[in-house]
């Protein structure tokens, strides 16, 4: 089976709606099909991978730790739009340091997050075969 490029576009804040959690679950399930998977974090979607999330008081499960498991599922392309961070007063330092382990390089930890400009993001999105928008 030919490999297709799958892109999961995340635009919503992690809590308040179920979009972020649903997206993450679909990504983990789809990982079993060994396709070329990328994730994009745009607009409020950047908050999904923000550091220090605390759901005490809203009665929802804090699933932010699960993004750190993506590397185990060979998902290591997490594109974050620079303008979306800037518009919210955030920088890369406000994001979780999500990494993956390179089996072919003695399990060296390598960063999964790639900050890209809006123009670069447009090109990345245009280059995909399948888009899922959450």
């Amino acid at each position: 089976m030919a490999t297709k490029k799958f892109m999961y576009v995340n635009r919503k804040a992690p809590y308040g709606t179920v979009y972020a959690l649903e997206s993450l679950e679909v990504v983990l399930i789809a990982a079993a099909f060994e396709q070329d998977v990328s994730l994009a974090f745009i607009d409020d979607g950047v908050y999904q991978i923000a550091k220090g999330q605390n759901t005490d008081g809203i009665g929802m499960k804090n699933f932010s730790a699960t993004y750190n498991a993506l590397g185990d599922y060979e998902i290591n392309k997490l594109y974050v739009e620079k303008e979306s961070l800037e518009e919210r007063g955030l920088t890369e330092d406000d994001l979780m340091p999500i990494v993956w382990e390179d089996e072919d390089d003695d399990w060296a930890e390598k960063p999964s997050i790639r900050i890209v400009s809006r123009a670069e993001m447009a090109d990345i999105l245009a280059d995909q075969d399948v888009h899922y928008s959450f």
Binding site: I29, A32, K61, A65, D72, E103
Partner: protein, 110 residues
């Protein structure tokens, strides 16, 4: 459905998975295994403990593929294969081992 361990009733769902993750004890794992005629050895516990640690860190039960790879890395290449894991957990390492570990059914597990 309920399982009785040391005289205390433990709530499980219709497939036998623990309802409340925090209620887990090693005795519950033993009782679940006994119901399926499995005797838990150190090799079983290595996998169960790994699953519990994985859940603690990432808040998910790993897919079998991920489990297999991680076991190979942690416990040695000879154990990082599905043949070894199925020899311990014949009903499927994901489903059966996660159940004993008190975790939910793995995401994406059919």
């Amino acid at each position: 459905m309920a399982l009785v361990v040391n005289g205390v009733e433990v709530a499980t769902d219709e497939e036998g998975y623990l309802e409340d993750l925090s209620a887990w004890t090693p005795e519950i794992a033993e009782a679940m295994a006994k119901e399926e005629d499995v005797e838990l050895t150190q090799e079983h516990w290595d996998i169960i403990n790994f699953l519990r640690e994985y859940y603690e860190e990432y808040q998910i039960a790993p897919a079998v593929r991920v489990l297999t790879k991680a076991v190979g890395k942690r416990l040695g290449k000879d154990k990082g294969n599905s043949k070894y894991l199925y020899s311990l957990f014949p009903y499927g390492p994901g489903k059966q081992a996660c159940k004993y570990a008190g975790l939910p059914k793995p995401t994406g597990c059919v």
